[in-house]
């Protein structure tokens, strides 16, 4: 997979627990352009182990001189966000993937409703520059706990003018999604990024209100779940890999030098899907990708987030 070598040029604390990173190509050349909603996967060397996290690109899409991401320090971090917060400083060299978009705007939408919760604001910061440039109608609704948690509020006001609405929970209470969605014109699309309960809640309300599934877009980056260790036997590569409790199947295979496919590393894209040939226990799916029927059939697994309660699994890789 092609990768980019970048150098961090600025690190800024922009809200409680949120840091903003700016990076440029290590050799000073322009970076690839990207579309609003894209993410990159950042590779980090944590104690000799490669750890990879996906972060949304939040800068303007028409600027290829630098990339910007924002990282929230997670309470239950598996190391990635803590590493970004504590070890990365101006001058740090990192390797990132090419931008990939799993959360792009729908170019036939009549109107775009963007709903962000907390750090979920990041993909919208790039989407907005696209929407402004192509002149589409949109509204941005940004919910956060309190003023100290509101990252990028000034930029948003500058970019969106009266199209932005803010919901500090401690002042205005929760954003009323039912009210928001029920007054939108036919042909609107809604995009949501934020904590799981917010995303799930919005999806439920939209479907109850009769919004077509294809008009509702969400982005969640799931962290891989931990669990009991098990052994994976790779049919084509003819090797066995032990998956410890604190690594995902994908990470364990990468540690073992297997070049396994991936894209989002968050159970959303399906790129890492592998065929399960045999399993002496039960698959535990954590992804957002497989259908219920596929889960029941137990013939596929997404190793970036899912694992199994078993002692041994055979996969076709």
């Amino acid at each position: 997979m092609s990768a980019l070598k970048v150098k961090v040029t600025a690190v800024e604390q922009v809200a409680e627990q949120i840091k903003h990173f700016t990076m440029v190509a290590e050799d000073g050349s322009p970076l690839p352009y990207f579309s609003g909603g894209s993410h990159v996967v950042v590779s980090m060397d944590i104690d000799g182990r490669t750890h990879r996290n996906a972060y949304s690109l939040m800068g303007p899409t028409n600027d290829n001189s630098a990339y910007q991401i924002a990282v929230r320090k997670q309470e239950k971090s598996r190391g990635g966000s803590v590493f970004m917060h504590e070890k990365v400083e101006p001058g740090t060299l990192l390797e990132i993937s090419m931008p990939t978009n799993l959360f792009s705007i729908h170019r036939l939408a009549k109107k775009h409703i963007l709903v962000a919760g907390g750090i979920g604001i990041t993909p919208f910061l790039s989407q907005i520059t696209d929407l402004n440039r192509i002149g589409h109608d949109y509204e941005l609704h940004y919910a956060y706990r309190s003023a100290e948690h509101a990252a990028f509020r000034e930029e948003i006001e500058k970019l969106c003018g009266d199209k932005a609405f803010f919901y500090p929970e401690n002042e205005t209470g929760r954003l009323n999604v039912t009210e928001l969605l029920s007054k939108q014109p036919l042909g609107s699309h809604v995009y949501v990024c934020g904590p799981d309960p917010m995303v799930n809640g919005l999806e439920l309300i939209a479907s109850e209100l009769g919004w077509p599934e294809t008009s509702v877009h969400s982005e969640k980056f799931l962290a891989p779940a931990s669990g009991a260790p098990f052994t994976v036997s790779l049919l084509q590569s003819n090797t066995e890999v032990v998956v410890p409790s604190d690594l995902s199947m994908l990470e364990a295979m990468e540690e073992a030098g297997i070049d396994a496919p991936y894209m989002c590393r968050g159970g959303a894209c399906g790129r890492c899907e592998v065929e399960v040939v045999e399993c002496d226990g039960e698959l535990v799916h954590h992804d957002e990708y497989l259908s219920d029927a596929e889960r029941v059939a137990a013939k596929k697994i997404l190793p970036c987030v899912s694992r199994a309660n078993c002692s041994r699994m055979v996969i076709n890789l």
């Binding site: 690839p32 990207f34 792009s104 729908h106 170019r107 192509i134 399906g270």
Partner: protein, 346 residues
């Protein structure tokens, strides 16, 4: 490199011809004596120097003539260029892809100078030089997609990605075998591929679509496809069937060597950066049976492939009306000797 471009036609007197060098680099598609339809997608990485895979977008001796042919088709029927309004970002993306690729691969023929949004483009073979502002349509003589498509070989369709599918919403198709962009515009990936016999039930398109939805920027892919035709006519679209339909019955055992062509499409797919759309280029290479037979193993293998081809596939590939004369022409060249696997000429 200084390129020599053929003066030739793809209609009327059909003066299209391949130099020996061009025959040698022909992307011969048959690895084995039997042909099965497959997705056969691979990374579109740089291939051997001199091969059609050397550069992301290949330019060869037919470049100038093909661009002229395209201009003729467009002047007769401008619906060959379709651009739905939501594809403007994709138009600029395509322009950037073609211009950067050509200028990097063939610096003596094409030059691109970028100063912020001010771009300067020089196309020596076609005698074009323009200054324009990237992103500002009014600074080009026509919309960016049409502008750049008039300067590249092959047909291009740019697909918008939405609703977990790909839609052919931007395209220029002037040299295509048997289909038309005016007809296919707006269609989804599966609708578009519906006519391939035996393919849907194999789940091929589900898999191909899934794969393409995850195509990544910076990692283009390619595949080849083939058919045959009588006369080196690029424009065999459905709209002009009345013009070329009768070609097919004009092949005989005697003239097949010069009149019948193996036609290989090199299809490449590129993810585009600003629009997240996917550009699908279909570049056609044609070679007459006589030229192809300058490499005996190519002729032998073609004979075997055609003889064992499933009748449904033969019909889909439009071979039925001239398959017999072709086989009669090839038969004496095939001594039945064992051929090792591979597409190489000798």
């Amino acid at each position: 490199m200084n390129m020599a471009f053929n003066e030739e036609t793809f209609r009327g007197d059909f003066t299209f011809r391949n130099s020996p060098e061009s025959v040698r680099r022909f992307p011969y598609p048959f690895e084995e004596d039997e042909y099965m339809y497959s997705v056969n997608i691979e990374q579109h990485t740089s291939g051997e120097p001199g091969s059609v895979f050397e550069h992301p977008i290949d330019v060869d001796e037919h470049y100038v003539a093909e661009c002229k042919e395209r201009a003729i088709v467009l002047s007769e029927d401008h619906t060959r260029c379709v651009a739905l309004p939501h594809m403007m970002d994709a138009q600029w993306d395509t322009l950037e892809l073609v211009m950067t690729s050509l200028s990097e691969s063939y610096p003596s023929e094409f030059q691109l100078t970028i100063d912020g949004d001010n771009w300067h483009w020089v196309n020596k073979p076609l005698g074009i030089e323009d200054h324009f502002v990237f992103g500002d349509v009014s600074t080009l003589p026509m919309e960016p997609f049409e502008y750049v498509m008039r300067q590249v070989q092959g047909d291009w369709v740019v697909m918008d990605q939405r609703d977990n599918d790909l839609y052919a919403d931007l395209g220029m198709v002037t040299g295509q075998a048997d289909w038309s962009v005016a007809f296919d515009a707006g269609m989804s990936f599966k609708e578009w591929h519906a006519p391939v016999p035996h393919a849907p039930e194999m789940g091929i398109f589900d898999r191909a679509l899934k794969y393409l939805l995850h195509l990544q920027y910076g990692s283009p892919v390619r595949r080849t496809n083939w058919r045959m035709c009588v006369n080196p006519r690029l424009d065999t679209s459905s709209e002009t069937y009345d013009v070329w339909g009768t070609d097919n019955v004009s092949a005989t055992k005697e003239n097949a060597g010069d009149k019948v062509f193996l036609r290989v499409e090199l299809q490449a797919l590129f993810r585009l950066p600003r629009s997240n759309a996917i550009a699908f280029s279909i570049r056609t290479y044609m070679v007459s049976l006589a030229d192809l037979a300058t490499y005996p193993r190519w002729a032998k293998r073609l004979n075997r492939v055609l003889r064992s081809l499933h009748p449904d596939l033969a019909e889909y590939k439009g071979l039925n009306s001239f398959k017999q004369p072709v086989l009669d022409w090839l038969e004496p060249l095939d001594d039945g000797a064992f051929l090792e696997k591979g597409v190489h000429p000798e």
